[in-house]
């Protein structure tokens, strides 16, 4: 799949650093990531491994004084987002890429009604900005709310975010992302702050909408279960770089990277039988990350080579690549 001619989004060797008081946080360390048109891609990794940073870099939402991008390209339909001017960037945010954030409570402004915020989004997304009639905007807002199966959309428009429940707020956020027909939808942990039954509903809704509109979706999650039913391909991320990519089914059946194996073993299962031991240690400090493979201090199979060289992606089979020296002979 990686060699299909025109990927929709292609991130090449992206580095993102943050300048802070103590020095430079080298958060992203050469991220490579591709999304094909219409493909649903999952991205899993623990907290603080740089998932959201990558996505914010795509949207150019990173606060640029502390953040610096010393190296890398983000190609969207062949054009580099990082080099775009404000006008083009607006166009991209308006029509092509939209994002659903993790915490719907923080994503909505508490002092404006849902109607105000949603209609602003509609007005922004419609091409002929000022000329659009008020009534049209309202109708469109109601229409998108209906699309995310919110009951009683007229009342919801008048409500403040605080008057809605968590699940409803997340639906409003999704509807906001859907107002313009998008080619790429980034869902950053859309169900994490919600209850299981509500989370299930939200994920199902996203899946339906993705299929109906044929948009590409990037689904980010720290829970492995959530991405299993939703995605075609899955990336596993650790401490600022991708460590494994495969078809979702293959990855769950045969995880190769020691980190992916550890993650899968640590996930509690419905079939019982106890939980794996987990992975010792924690994500490294980004100020002074370990040399070579960033996973080596926690890795059970660490070899001398892991300490000085960063492993590139080794191809195990057609769709399965893993960044670990254990598999260097497979190339």
């Amino acid at each position: 799949m990686n060699f299909m001619p025109n990927p929709l989004l292609e991130i090449k060797d992206l580095h993102v650093w943050f300048k802070v008081f103590e020095g430079i946080l080298k958060v992203l360390d050469g991220v490579n990531f591709t999304v094909q048109p219409g493909e649903k891609v999952g991205l899993v990794g623990e907290m603080g491994c740089g998932k959201t940073t990558t996505m914010k870099a795509i949207m150019r939402l990173l606060p640029m004084p502390p953040a610096i991008i010393p190296k890398g390209e983000i190609l969207f339909k062949g054009k580099d987002i990082l080099k775009m001017g404000q006008v083009k960037l607006r166009q991209i945010r308006k029509k092509e890429i939209s994002m659903i954030f993790q915490d719907p409570t923080a994503a909505l402004n508490p002092v404006f009604t849902v109607g105000t915020q949603l209609q602003d989004a509609v007005r922004f997304a419609e091409k002929s900005g000022k000329n659009t009639e008020k009534e049209d905007i309202r109708t469109r807002a109601i229409q998108v709310l209906k699309e995310v199966s919110l009951p009683d959309p007229e009342r919801v428009l008048q409500n403040y975010p605080i008057q809605l429940s968590g699940g409803m707020r997340q639906r409003v956020c999704i509807s906001m992302a859907l107002v313009s027909t998008n080619e790429l939808l980034i869902a950053d942990e859309p169900g994490t702050s919600l209850d299981v039954t509500i989370k299930d509903q939200i994920l199902r809704l996203l899946k339906e909408l993705g299929e109906k509109r044929d948009t590409s979706i990037i689904l980010i999650s720290h829970a492995l279960g959530a991405v299993r039913g939703m995605t075609d391909r899955l990336y596993v991320m650790y401490a600022g770089s991708m460590v494994e990519v495969a078809k979702t089914k293959d990855l769950f059946a045969h995880p190769l990277h020691p980190y992916s194996q550890g993650l899968l073993a640590a996930t509690p299962r419905l079939t019982g039988g106890g939980i794996g031991e987990g992975i010792d240690g924690r994500i490294p400090e980004y100020i002074n990350p370990p040399k070579g493979c960033r996973f080596h201090p926690r890795c059970k199979d660490a070899m001398p080579v892991c300490k000085d060289k960063k492993p590139p992606f080794f191809k195990v089979d057609e769709n399965h690549e893993v960044a670990c020296f254990l598999f260097q002979n497979c190339r």
């Binding site: 209850d195 039954t197 640590a266 996930t267 924690r282």
Partner: protein, 323 residues
């Protein structure tokens, strides 16, 4: 129920109402359960179902509106202030979010020192330091962490400190209020395994609260499901996952996202989750679940069902099983 001798904790018809301007919030409404000596009793429910209120009432942070809490044959349904000192030593709690349950202005040594001082466990300063070192070793943290502040260590390590604090007084009953819900799976696995080891080592009894059913499957020996302040179903864990009876339980089980096909086969099919948990101020009349229930009958909106025992130790509160 109290006659059973091996129960460490028995809760009977416990009620906790909160009186607010919007109306009475029935956070916990007549629930009964018992925890046996040395077992892990799981309490599962969505947010707002009253799980934490149960824990806080048992530990004495809230006074029950009505009902009885019996600990080893003694009625302890009074307020925390009136509880005997020794009892507080016996019952300890670890909270959900280690970021807020540890005082940011105290270092780890001071945090762990406090329960030792309050309960007069250590005789002198040296003894106290030794005990703290021992506690840190027990939760596999380096001794050098003694002079670190909570903000300097990771979320998993904070939770380890919180657990060490709970275990500092040698309790026999520990309430774990979603101890790992704020943590990553790899860290969660470590903490859970540690808790299971402590349980064997110190013969502890746990009341384990979580919203994660797959985690519950692996730690609890019996499970109770709560919905809007009431318990819907209680069953031994293996029975519970093999044969879930209450429609809400089935809905919960069908919503879990799992990671293998074997697990997928365990999930009840054809039940699709709909609706949301209603506000506890306006609890629907009759069975509180009837608005979301796929198997609703006429009687459900009028009469609140009672707990019935379907098979041994498997009780369910639903009209489907009353006859």
């Amino acid at each position: 129920m109290i006659t059973l001798t091996n129960n460490i904790l028995t809760v009977e018809q416990l009620k906790k109402y909160f009186f607010t301007y919007q109306g009475i919030v029935k956070a916990v409404d007549r629930i009964s359960f018992s925890v046996e000596e040395g077992e892990t009793f799981g309490l599962v429910g969505e947010s707002g179902s009253g799980k934490s209120t149960v824990a806080y009432t048992v530990v004495g942070m809230y006074r029950p509106t009505e009902g009885k809490i019996v600990y080893r044959g003694k009625d302890i349904s009074q307020e925390s202030k009136k509880r005997p000192h020794t009892l507080k030593k016996e019952i300890q709690i670890a909270f959900q979010d280690p970021g807020t349950s540890l005082n940011p202005a105290m270092n780890i040594k001071q945090i762990l020192e406090l329960p030792l001082k309050v309960h007069n466990i250590s005789k002198n300063h040296k003894d106290c330091i030794d005990k703290i070192k021992e506690l840190l070793k027990m939760v596999q943290l380096p001794v050098s962490y003694m002079y670190k502040y909570p903000s300097m260590i990771g979320g998993g390590e904070k939770q380890m400190v919180a657990i060490a604090r709970a275990l500092a007084t040698n309790p026999s009953f520990v309430l774990l209020d979603e101890p790992t819900s704020a943590l990553d799976v790899s860290v969660q696995a470590k903490i859970i395994n540690m808790l299971i080891r402590f349980q064997k080592e110190f013969s502890l009894s746990y009341l384990f609260i979580t919203h994660d059913l797959s985690l519950m499957r692996n730690v609890a020996s019996r499970v109770a499901i709560m919905y809007l302040g009431k318990i819907c179903e209680i069953a031994p864990t293996s029975e519970f996952f093999k044969n879930p009876l209450h429609p809400y339980t089935q809905m919960l089980l069908s919503s879990i996202s799992v990671i293998s096909d074997e697990e997928e086969a365990l999930k009840p099919r054809k039940i699709i989750s709909t609706g949301e948990i209603p506000s506890p101020v306006n609890v629907p009349p009759g069975c509180s679940f009837h608005l979301r229930c796929p198997k609703k009958m006429d009687i459900c909106s009028q009469e609140d069902p009672v707990m019935v025992e379907v098979s041994k130790e498997h009780t369910v509160r639903c009209h489907l099983y009353t006859k």
